[in-house]
Subunit: 206 residues, 2 copies
């Protein structure tokens, strides 16, 4: 991710994100993450008390990187809140290029394995996903107001749904080996949002 991650700690975080995204959490050994980072095991346990602690820190780093990229994206400057929401989805669709291990979600991958066995790691993944989702709350709420949809459903709920579709798209892409499957799903998501934000209120089902 970072081209010249200076410290061993950063190199370990980046390596963990990459290795875990391609193999899952449990299958990624500490030794392999160290090898990928070009760092020894001693350095690993100097910076992190456990493998779990590394994953928690990596989830935070991953979410922060995503938040930063989105906050700096051009669509953020659009005047219409609905257009900003659609701009977000378009950006996520644009990101669907390259290897699966480079485009999928670290937190979504990890939480599938850890939700029942590691409460702290589960909470870190929840914070990463829901925290990132929440960056859309205000725009969605404004767009719903503008369309007379206020109260029809919760803005935060739609934010989370957007993340759910993205997560599901990744699973479909992994299952088929085709990134195009993920694009397809994001196109349906875009169509849903367009229908929501361009249809007259009486036509939107409860």
């Amino acid at each position: 991710m970072a081209p010249h991650a200076a410290t061993a700690r950063d190199k370990l975080l980046d390596a963990a994100i990459h290795v875990v995204r391609s193999q899952g959490y449990a299958a990624s050994s500490v030794d392999e993450i160290c090898r990928e980072a070009g760092v020894t095991k001693g350095a690993f346990f100097h910076h992190f008390p456990s493998k779990e602690a590394l994953a928690i820190a990596a989830a935070g780093r991953f979410a922060a990187a995503a938040d930063t990229l989105c906050a700096a994206a051009p669509y953020r400057a659009l005047p219409d809140p609905a257009a900003r929401v659609l701009g977000y989805v378009a950006l996520r669709r644009d990101w669907l290029r390259g290897e699966l291990a480079e485009i999928t979600c670290f937190a979504g991958t990890v939480v599938q394995e850890a939700y029942a066995t590691s409460p702290a790691l589960r909470a870190a993944c929840e914070a990463a996903i829901c925290g990132h989702a929440a960056t859309l709350d205000a725009d969605i709420e404004a767009a719903m107001q503008a369309r007379g949809l206020a109260g029809r459903f919760s803005p935060a709920g739609l934010s989370r749904h957007i993340q759910a579709v993205i997560q599901g798209a990744f699973i479909l892409a992994k299952a088929t080996g085709e990134v195009a499957m993920a694009e397809e799903s994001l196109d349906h998501l875009r169509r849903y949002l367009e229908l929501l934000f361009t249809t007259k209120k009486r036509d939107v089902p409860e």
Copy 2:
């Protein structure tokens, strides 16, 4: 799953589905699956040449069970194809009760870890997910014809999108620990389908 799975093979498959759904594939040891099944390791390797082979067979069993349940569901008898599609989503929403390990998707969980390391297992998960998705293809195609939406997007693509939303809903539920988060997403999916199948063609975005 089955109360009195007769053979050791069936008990192993059921145990694998349960254990893997709660811990993921890599973290589920053969010993633990055997313990859960009440069977020894000798029986395991008598019926399956490897852990991977068990997972492949379990994916098939899981998909077959889902297909069977859906084929027998009441909504299948509805006259309107669009109503059958919505009936499917309603059924999947009804299934969202109980422990996460009992309601989430085995194939979706496994493929996240195995897509890059085990081609055969990845293919089995693809067959499970996409095969199950395909049971909706005909109804979706008919509903699109009836609404003049033919050619707007692919019926199989919408079938896969439905599965993607369901998979993403599971991830959200695991991350938050709240099954209600999954319900929320399925409600949005239902609303999307209602908009698609009740809106005049000219109002549906490309």
